[in-house]
């Protein structure tokens, strides 16, 4: 059996998030991303022991954690189990899970831990009945999720890709299965085109995963501005005074602070950043680059300007950077004398608001604008987004198969290999929409082509 992993605490707020890994290689997989302070390895220590250390993803520390080691059969599932207790909050637990998956674990199916626990004799018959209920309930909710997907844009988009791939696959099949019929020749180019188009559409779809997460777990929002423009103060106001009620992680290698805050009906995942300015200092350069990257990846940018001072070149270059992304220009310090010419800001950024962070003046206006922006299409959950890990995995596997098909075509491999890879991609797309792979290609052959003796 494969080694599986999932977040096993309720998602959302909460002090601690637990990522459970179960299966033969649990400890080995955890060792790849967890380095204990003592230098001990999970795979080398006994069961019922804990280690404290850091979790790494792509070479960077993403969190501190306590790792609990359980050895088969003395665990919840009866298999080798590692539980990583990290700082709670959806963002960080998800990052840790994703690191565990990258290290070789498979994402657990709904109810799979319980199922394994039962299969390994860790539960009795009465409990087993409960498992049945649980699993059928899970599948019902999965069915509801599939229904939602079916009605939504995601379904339409993936269906369009599936249709186009089916047409190509049927053509390839007819061409191979009826070599002596009058079937139009399949050219490498036409197949390559179809494969490439599909990769494009699916890759775009894949990138919406982040938007989907944003809707569920907060809009990725970045606050930018010159040092001392009032970013930290604004962040504190939006977060509420007591910052301890929200998750806060201070990165050890980057100057980005994250907070999850609720503004009206909208959840924002706020990042405060290093100020943007020209610098020769290597370390500061890295900070600025990070900020610029963050602007590119953010769903919403709140740009803060010091109203008591004239616009600087840095301010202007910031405006140029953010004018094409959803952004709000906040002109701060209305409690001081205005020395700013706002013409360039208003010309380039649609939403502008004047506040005094210090006096908390006009903060409601800012909240309104945030809510308004969050309600626009940019954050519309029905706009064809990938909403969960399962959907993401299905699309990703489809893209992987298609990329393999693309390289097979480029290397000059024969069409039989290409056809198998395209069929595989179709199966993954059928999985995405909850349909079952079956006779689609064969049916299509007879529908589209006049073949037979």
């Amino acid at each position: 059996m494969s080694t599986i992993a999932a977040i096993s605490t309720a998602q959302g707020e909460g002090g601690i998030g637990v990522i459970r890994i179960s299966g033969e290689n649990s400890a080995e997989i955890a060792d790849k991303i967890f380095k204990s302070v003592s230098g001990k390895k999970l795979s080398e220590i006994e069961g019922y022991r804990a280690l404290f250390g850091n979790i790494y993803k792509e070479g960077e520390v993403i969190d501190e954690a306590v790792a609990l080691n359980f050895k088969a059969p003395h665990s919840f599932t009866g298999e080798n189990v590692v539980e990583l207790s990290c700082h709670g909050g959806v963002f960080i637990t998800r990052e840790v899970l994703s690191a565990v998956i990258d290290a070789g674990a498979v994402l657990a199916e709904p109810g799979e831990f319980t199922k394994r626990a039962y299969l390994n004799g860790k539960m009795d018959l009465t409990e087993a009945e409960a498992v049945m209920d649980l699993i059928s309930a899970k599948s019902k909710s999965a069915a509801r999720a599939a229904m939602y997907v079916k009605e939504g844009t995601l379904f339409k988009k993936s269906r369009a890709v599936k249709e186009s791939l089916l047409t190509t696959a049927a053509h390839l099949s007819a061409w191979a299965d009826y070599p002596e019929e009058d079937i139009p020749e399949v050219t490498d180019n036409s197949v390559l085109q179809s494969v490439k188009n599909s990769i494009d559409v699916l890759s775009k779809l894949l990138s919406t995963y982040n938007i989907g997460q944003a809707v569920k777990e907060g809009i990725d929002t970045v606050i930018v501005g010159r040092p001392n423009a009032g970013k930290s103060t604004l962040m504190n106001i939006l977060s509420g005074v007591e910052r301890s009620i929200v998750t806060s992680i201070e990165g050890t290698t980057r100057d980005v602070i994250e907070d999850t805050v609720v503004v009206g009906n909208v959840i924002l995942r706020l990042s405060d950043t290093a100020g943007i300015r020209q610098t020769d200092n290597e370390i500061e350069k890295i900070g600025v680059e990070k900020t610029l990257k963050k602007i590119e990846s953010a769903s919403l940018v709140i740009a803060l300007f010091d109203g008591s001072k004239p616009l600087t070149d840095e301010d202007i270059s910031l405006i140029d950077k953010i004018k094409n992304v959803p952004s709000i220009a906040v002109i701060n310090k209305t409690d001081l004398e205005s020395n700013i010419n706002t013409e360039y800001i208003i010309k380039n950024i649609e939403n502008t608001v004047f506040i005094s962070a210090k006096n908390e003046d006009n903060i409601d206006e800012l909240r309104n604008i945030i809510e308004k922006l969050a309600g626009t299409e940019n954050f519309d959950p029905s706009a064809g987004i990938i909403a969960n890990e399962r959907q993401k995995n299905a699309v990703k596997k489809a893209v992987d198969s298609l990329k393999e098909a693309e390289s097979a075509l480029k290397f000059g491999f024969t069409m039989d290999a290409v056809t198998v890879l395209i069929s595989e991609a179709i199966d993954y797309l059928l999985e995405l929409t909850g349909e079952k792979a079956g006779e689609e290609i064969v049916d299509r052959v007879f529908h589209n082509f006049c073949v037979g003796k």
Partner: protein, 620 residues
């Protein structure tokens, strides 16, 4: 007056492609076997095209041969022309097809049956099939002879309740003017089998001397021709050519003007016809904007002037057939010798069977071929072989012989039939196999001959040849791994001519063969130490090297599938009592009664969540 005519282990009803393979396999496995046919001259008859093999069907023939069946050898003995289809489209879809001498094929097969130890060929129509109180099968003939058997294999083809349609004319008949089996259907219904009507059709046979070949495109065979059977050493030369012609707007007009006279379009035929083998009127109606359709003119044998018009099957009235055939180039003065016709027949929904082709609710009763809802000689023979083997094994108290989807096209065919059922006659296609890079026609022996040997269908001689070949293959693989070519001008000239990059250091032959553009043939001049062995060995080695990554990927999928196949489901479950299954899944599972989790997962209407429920239920 009924009389006792004899006791047998296995009785086979029908001696077409399914029946003959079934009877030969059963007899060869040591069972005392009898095979019934309505007409001894119809044994191994080819009532449709005079050819064996073709895409995916060629795979089936190779597999039948690898298991010790007879179709491949007989086709080789009677071949007129061999063609390997789909060269250039990749090894997975290479398919061998033989034009055969159809009378010679039938005679050869009949003679093999006659010579086979433990096997009796008997001309008789079976009119009644019942189970006696002691569990034996009782077969009654039209002449009231009573035969007893421990197992019965039904392979009635298009004979069971057969009815021919040509225009407004319709009458009860089997193919080629032979009696239909009129009474057996009633017995089968009494046994609880549900029957359905399917239909198929065949084009006209016409007189060779009435065709003007001068302007028709010629289709030659391969040089040298390749045999089906691993036993055939020397096939000899191709003996005939085929020709290609096309329909035209006039043909289309004639058919459209007379479409109301087609029994299908006039609503006279209820049977469901095959999608893959439509009549010419079907093609014209369904693909109305297609201006022309292709036809192949194929000789039926060396000692006959009858020619087969592949692509032109029809059930229009004779005079309309004559008129539209004559509108085709080359056929302007054509003389029809046998008109085209449609034939409707009784068959079963194969969902009532297990993967052994035994009816679940009638132990000891097996079905094969068109009776099971398939179509095609090769599909029939494949099922006949499996049914014959299993009937014998059961009588001998041995484990059943089940081929899974990853082992063969035969396994895929049977799994599709018994798991998904059929809504129209089932034809094998390469697109039906998800493991087609593994299930190639070139490696059928590697996949199946060891299984055939274990069963006892592979002779010592054949086995020796097989093991020797595997040894040579191993050596050849080693040789090309150790063969290093220097970066000579000669090598680079070859590489450039194949449009692939040059080398500037020494390169292993193995690495060169990984390139899609490079094959054994283009390296002949520099590969001076090449041994003189069967070219099939080079073929297999090259494919396995070139497609290694893809094959490996498929093998992993195979592993995954086989793990699920190993989780057996009991036969006597009432799935409506399994908590957690959705209603649709309960109904489907109760109907198909899958033998394992893998098979269950392929049933339409059974979701992955249902499979989880089954897995839990199973381990309780």
């Amino acid at each position: 007056m009924s009389y006792n005519a004899g006791k047998f282990d296995v009785a086979v009803i029908g001696a077409g492609h399914a029946g003959t393979e079934a009877a030969l396999a059963s007899a060869r496995l040591g069972c005392n076997t009898i095979i019934f046919t309505i007409n001894n001259d119809a044994v191994g008859n080819c009532p449709c095209n005079p050819s064996i093999g073709g895409t995916a069907k060629g795979h089936l023939v190779r597999e039948i041969d690898a298991l010790g069946g007879e179709m491949g050898k007989t086709a080789d003995e009677c071949f007129l022309q061999m063609r390997m289809l789909n060269r250039g489209k990749g090894p997975a879809v290479h398919s061998l097809r033989a034009q055969i001498d159809r009378r010679k094929y039938a005679d050869t097969m009949k003679h093999k049956i006659e010579l086979q130890e433990n096997l009796i060929l008997r001309q008789a129509e079976i009119t009644k099939l019942e189970k006696s109180n002691n569990g034996e099968w009782l077969l009654t003939t039209r002449m009231d002879a009573l035969f007893t058997a421990k197992a019965v294999i039904i392979a009635t083809g298009t004979y069971l309740g057969g009815r021919i349609y040509v225009g407004e004319t319709s009458y009860e008949s089997g193919p080629d003017g032979i009696f239909p089996a009129k009474f057996l259907g009633e017995s089968l219904k009494n046994l609880g089998l549900s029957l359905r009507r399917f239909k198929t059709g065949t084009p006209a046979r016409v007189l060779k001397s009435s065709i003007d070949f001068t302007e028709l495109e010629v289709q030659n065979g391969d040089e040298p021709p390749v045999p089906f059977s691993y036993d055939t050493d020397n096939l000899g030369e191709n003996k005939v050519v085929c020709h290609i012609s096309w329909t035209n707007p006039k043909t289309k007009q004639i058919i459209q003007d007379n479409i109301h006279r087609s029994p299908l379009y006039a609503g006279k035929i209820d049977g469901i016809g095959p999608r893959y083998c439509p009549s010419i009127e079907d093609k014209i109606v369904r693909f109305a904007n297609k201006e022309r359709h292709q036809l192949f003119i194929e000789p039926c044998g060396l000692d006959t002037e009858e020619m087969y018009l592949q692509g032109m099957s029809s059930s229009l009235p004779e005079e309309v057939q004559t008129e539209f055939y004559k509108s085709i180039k080359g056929l302007e003065n054509v003389v029809i010798m046998r008109p085209a016709y449609a034939i409707e027949y009784d068959c079963v929904d194969p969902i009532q069977m297990d993967s052994t082709l035994e009816f679940r609710d009638c132990p000891g009763l097996y079905g094969a071929g068109q009776f099971n809802g398939s179509s095609g000689y090769e599909e029939a023979a494949a099922q006949g072989l499996v049914a014959g083997i299993n009937a014998a094994l059961k009588i001998q108290g041995k484990e059943p012989f089940i081929l899974d989807r990853a082992s063969s096209y035969i396994g895929t065919l049977i799994d599709d039939l018994v798991t998904k059922g059929v809504s129209d006659p089932y034809r094998m296609m390469t697109s039906r196999s998800e493991y087609r890079l593994v299930l190639r026609q070139d490696n059928a022996d590697v996949r199946l001959t060891p299984l055939g040997r274990e069963l006892g269908l592979i002779s010592d001689n054949r086995w020796e040849k097989y093991t020797e070949k595997q040894e040579l293959k191993k050596q050849e693989y080693k040789r090309i791994k150790n063969t290093v070519f220097s970066p000579t001008d000669e090598l680079n000239k070859i590489l450039v001519s194949r449009e692939t990059s040059e080398v500037n250091t020494g390169v292993r032959m193995l690495d060169l063969l990984k390139r899609p553009q490079i094959n054994y043939e283009c390296l002949t001049s520099i590969d001076t130490n090449r041994p003189n062995i069967d070219s099939n060995i080079f073929e297999q080695v090259e494919i396995e090297i070139k497609y290694e990554g893809y094959i490996q990927k498929q093998l992993e999928q195979v592993e995954k599938m086989r793990r699920l196949e190993k989780k057996k489901l009991p036969n006597d479950v009432d799935y409506s009592t399994v908590t957690g299954l959705r209603l649709e899944a309960q109904e489907k599972l109760n109907k198909v009664r899958p033998q394992n989790i893998g098979q269950a997962s392929r049933i339409s209407g059974v979701s992955p969540a249902d499979i989880s429920v089954l897995l839990i239920w199973l381990s309780r």
